[in-house]
Structure formats: C-alpha cells, structure tokens
Amino acid sequence: MIRRVLPHGLGRGLLTRRPGTRRGGFSLDWDGKVSEIKKKIKSILPGTPCDVLPDTSHLPPEHSDVVVVGGGVLGLSVAYWLKQLENRRGGMRVLVVERDHTYSQASTGLSVGGICQQFSLPENIQLSLFSASFLRNINEYLAVTNAPPLDLQFNPSGYLLLASEKDAAAMESNVKVQKQEGAKVCLMSPDQLRNKFPWINTEGVALASYGMENEGWFDPWCLLHGLRQKLMSMGVFFCQGEVTRFVTSSQRMMTTDDEMVTLKSIHEVHVKMDHSLEYQPVECAIVINAAGAWSAQIAALAGIGKGPPGTLQGTKLPVEPRKRYVYVWHCPQGPGLETPLVADTSGAYFRREGLGSNYLGGRSPAEVSRVGWDMLARRHRIIVMKESGFWPGSVCFVHPQVQTAWAGYYDYNTFDQNGVVGPHPLVVNMYFATGFSGHGLQQAPGVGRAVAEMILEGSFQTIDLSPFLFNRFYLGEKTQENNIM
C-alpha cells in the first residue's frame, strides 16, 4: 500500500518539477531500490541462507595454542602426544599446517618403512624400542570407535648388518650397548651366516649383527592415516597452506656476564593458501618445526641464523634435503621368505617386498656430496643399475629386472646426522622435531612424546634427549651416530 501511495506523490512531484522526464529519468529508480530492500529482508528472515559474511571454511582458525608446521609423521606424532598428555580434555588447541595434502614429496610416504634398534647411541636405541612397542600396541593408542583396526603390515624379519674387518670392532661395541639397552641383537660369524642364509656371499664380511625381535619394516602410509584419523577424532585442526611469515616480538635482556641478548618470541603465524595471495594470521603461543627436509627455510623465517657467523644468533639450522633413490626389482631365484633387511658396509641395503620375489633397496652415498634434484638423474641411475650389477658383492642377484624406482628426501642433518629436538635458545617458543636423516619414521612416536613432555612439563621425562638439543650446533659438540643407512 505504501508502495502504491508513495510513487504517486513523488511521481507527481517529479513530473510537476520537470515536465520532460516521464519515464523516471531522475535517478531515483524506485523499482530497483524496492527489489533490493525485498532481497535484504528475505535474507535476514530465518530459514534462508545468509550470504552477508564471506566463506572462510578453508582458512585456519584465528587463534591456536600450538601450530605444528609440517603434517608428516613427526608433526602428527607431536600433535598426538600433546593431545594425549594434556591435563584437561580439550585444554589445548592444536593446528597442523601442511603444504601438500597429497604428501607427494613428504619423506614419510616415500620411505622404505624400516624400524631397527641397531644404533650406536643409547638414546636412539631407546627411541626405537619405544616406537616398536607403540607400533605393536597401535590399536590401543590410536583407537577410534567405529573405525576398523589398523593393520600396519609389519614384517618382523629383522635387520642384518654386515661389517668388514675394519668395522668389526665398532660393531661389537655397538652391539654391547644395544644389548644393555634391551635390544635383542646377536652377533654372527661368517660361518654362522653361511649356515643361516646360504645366499650371502661372505667374502669381505668379518662380522654381522642380526636383530631378532622388534625389527623389520611396516607400511608408513598406514601409520600416517591412523594418526590423522585419531587426531581428527581428538579435535585437532588441519589446514592446507604454507607458512610464509612469523611475526615476532623481541626482548633485550642482560645475562649474568653483562652481555646483551635478544630473546624473540613468535606470536603470529601467517598461513598462505594454495594458488592465492590470501593468508590467515594465526595467533599462537608455540610453534613446532616439523617441516622435514624444508625445516631450514622455516627456521630462517623466524630469524634463526641471521647474525654474524660464529655467534648463537648466526647459527643456522643445519638440516638440508638430500635425495635418496629406492629401486624395486624382480629376481626369480632370489632369497626366500626369511630374508631380513640386509645392509652392507658400503651403505647399500635391500629387503624382500611381498611374496612374488620382488626386492626393494637403495644405497646411501658414502661421500658427502649433494645429489641433484632433477628427474633425469633418476632414469640414469636405473640404467646404471641394470647394466653394472648394482649390488657390491654381498648378495648376488642373478638377472634382476628393475620394475620401478622412486626418490625421496632425507631431512639430512649435515652436522652430525642426528635429530634436532627441543626449543631454540633465542627464539623461545619454537620447538624442533626434525633432522633425523633417514630414521625419522622409526623414531617418530618417541620423539613426539619427548617434545610434548618438553612443552607440557618443561623437561624430558621418559627418554632424555638432551644430546639432541639445538645448543650443540653452537657449542660444536657432535652427537655422532655411526650406523646410518
């Protein structure tokens, strides 16, 4: 009614003012305005979708207590233990940021999946032992109601390390340490080796160490999927995006030796979305660097390493990506069902894959060389392997046919090839869980628990990983691991 009345009055007024404009040339456009008002009223009324606010479901939350940078097995393990050990259910909001939700380049999925306790450092042995018990009881740790139980496809076939004359003494002392920590490892002489595994050529082999229990290989995708599923049921937020910036605040303090030191703390993380300039600033209290092969970039964003070399501010995180190749070949007369994962002194290793005489193996280069990242190198290596008989001599594969190959990155710690765990001394709320140089997958449950204990209690409670703190890079104290594959 009002509609009908008003135009009359206005229309007459308009017309009387300007006789030439009959069709509402005066820009009032009453009909258009009315339809707009009708639309707004309709959208405010309940029962209709309200398009007033933009859609932000793909963005991470604006506030989060802990931001885990990197969604591989280490990052998910830290998130799991943080939620498991928190004092109150729902007490911590954890956000896991992963750049690539297909995990196409992540070391976890491309890994061979082995777990062994044959290390020289007691801490590494304890981490592996705990991981073995975690994997054994995985359906108790990662139980989700209504989901089927996880089948890790674990092969308990053990690891067999072969040593030449010059490495035999080191291997003996390593095995002593391993037995002390509780690993079930035994030494074998060349005769015993020939008896047990007749397909090994024991020329040049002086001693071998064989793991009997809690060693073998499993399916890393299953572990990743299980962790993801459990984390989603515990209420952890997942976001696909890239961390591009840390916003830090600094504080200058004086040490007891009257030195000025700048302590930084990250209070905002900028997470940028894929294929877009859109980013979300996430306010956070703690950041965990579990970015694997790309951890050094994340550390550089926080200002770690920006300073004169030789000082604590100038000490960079010495983790870089190293490419490693894995080949799958078929050999009909090869070793049988009892084959353990055999690793040679030259760094070459292989294991059985499935029941159809397929084997999987690779070789870590002994020299400290950076391998190129291009795909052409991969094809070249396949040809080299086909022609020259890749295996250095310990196991003879007759007429192997290479089926497939792939490459993945190790998060290689160039300093001492061992992991970096714990907080940074200057950037006080960044915690590291990276740099494990090829055994990150097998130590992930133990490391995750250690980092969670460090955050929640302030110190390591179960396994003491103080030799793995960041300080050692500045102080120059190497915790060298001698058995790297």
């Binding site: 139980a143 109601t145 209504n146 092969n155 053990g158 229990e213 049988g336 069902l337 029941l355």
Partner: protein, 258 residues
Amino acid sequence: MTQGANGQSLRLVAPMWNGTRGIHRLGGAVVPEGNQKKERKMLQFLNNHFYDVEALRGYLLQREMSKVHLKNRSFTWLEEQHGPYSAGAFFILKQGGAVKFRDKEWIRPDKYGHFSPEFWNFREVPVEAVDASDCEINYEGLDNLLLLKELQSLSLQRCPHVDDWCLSRLYPLADSLQELSLAGCPRVSERGLACLHHLQNLRRLDISDLPAVSNPGLTQILVEEMLPNCQVVGVDWAEGLKLGPEEQPQDTASPVPA
C-alpha cells in the same frame, strides 16, 4: 600352466577381501547373520549421533582390553618360588589350556576352570607339550610361555590375540620345539610366518585356515622352502588357482576357486 589333480589347467586368482571388522570385534572373522547385522547398524547409528553411547563403547572396549592384560601378567614371583616349569604351567592352566609334563599325563582344567595342584611338586620336570587352543595369550603373556625352555609341542589354535609380533618371539624355543600349530589364528599372516625360520628343529607345522594370509597356496610353498626338514600341513598349494577358461568343471570334486 600348472596342472590340477584331474589334469585340468589352473591359473592364479586374486583372493577376495571379506570386508572390515569393527573395533569391537577383536579378531572375530565370522560373517554376521541378518539379526546381528541389524543390531550392528543400530549400534553404529547411536554411536554416531550420541556422545554418551560413544563414550560408553569406548569404556567397555578399554575394560575388555584391560581384562586381557590382566590375564597375561607376568608371574615372576611364582617363577622364583616354584621354578620356571611350574610357573609356566600355571599360566597356561589358568588361561584354560592343557599342559603335559615329561612322562606324566595331560593336565587339563575342567569346565569350571579348576585343575589339580599336583604339578606344583614337579619342580625339575620339564614341560613337554602345551595345548593353548582358544586361550587369550598375547605378546606379554609369551613371557610366561617362554619360561618352558624344553617345550616340544605347542598348539596355538584359534588364539584370538596371537599375531605376527608374537611369532617373532618364539625363537628361544628353537632348540627343542618340534611341533607347532597355528590353525585358525585370525591375526597371523605370512609376514609372521616368515620369522619361523629360526625354528630349525620343527618337524610339523600346521598353518591351515589362516584368514589373514593373503595367498595361502604361495605361502605354503614358500614356508616349505624355508623349513626344508619340516612337514607343513594345512593348505593345498592348488588353492587360489582357478580353472582355465578352456576347461569346464566336469564334476564337483574338482579344485574349487578360492
């Protein structure tokens, strides 16, 4: 082309996967009937829509698991008091299994779970055979079983919690174990069978009816190769092979596709 028993040609066929098993059925490989399926669906619906039901189910599951843990605790005090053989025998009898000491008769618990206490006197007599069929032994419980160092015959038929990890623990019995039966264990797969190569004195191995083994015929052949002195019983190697397209099955007695 391989030849079957009746001269028909056979080819390998992929095994069928018989669906997921819910977490509340630890190891049950039985296909549910119509009624059970409806109950299961109702339970799942309630679980997805009510937090209380989910929490209750989680609590009941935890209770079941802790019951199994309790059954498999270590009897170290008993071992100190009465020696390893008696302690191990007590563990097996408490679980519901049967035990045979050397030169003595089988000791079995009756239907109420009671058994005669005469074995406490057999301090020095080793245990020769253990029948732990349908017992709830798991990885931790093997601590007690491995006390029986001179065991010759072990039967783990239809044990719901014996899996590949448990098989990797059997190597300390390599010197004496001659007979092992794993028939019907729902969690044992070919990966666990691979670590039986330590048991070189084994003369008879029963691996029939293992639902988790992906390829029973091929596994049988590989296990026979791995243990040359052992008679491996259970699977006919032709199982899993299908009749070739050019030969029609003439009678029902021919090898049936898996």
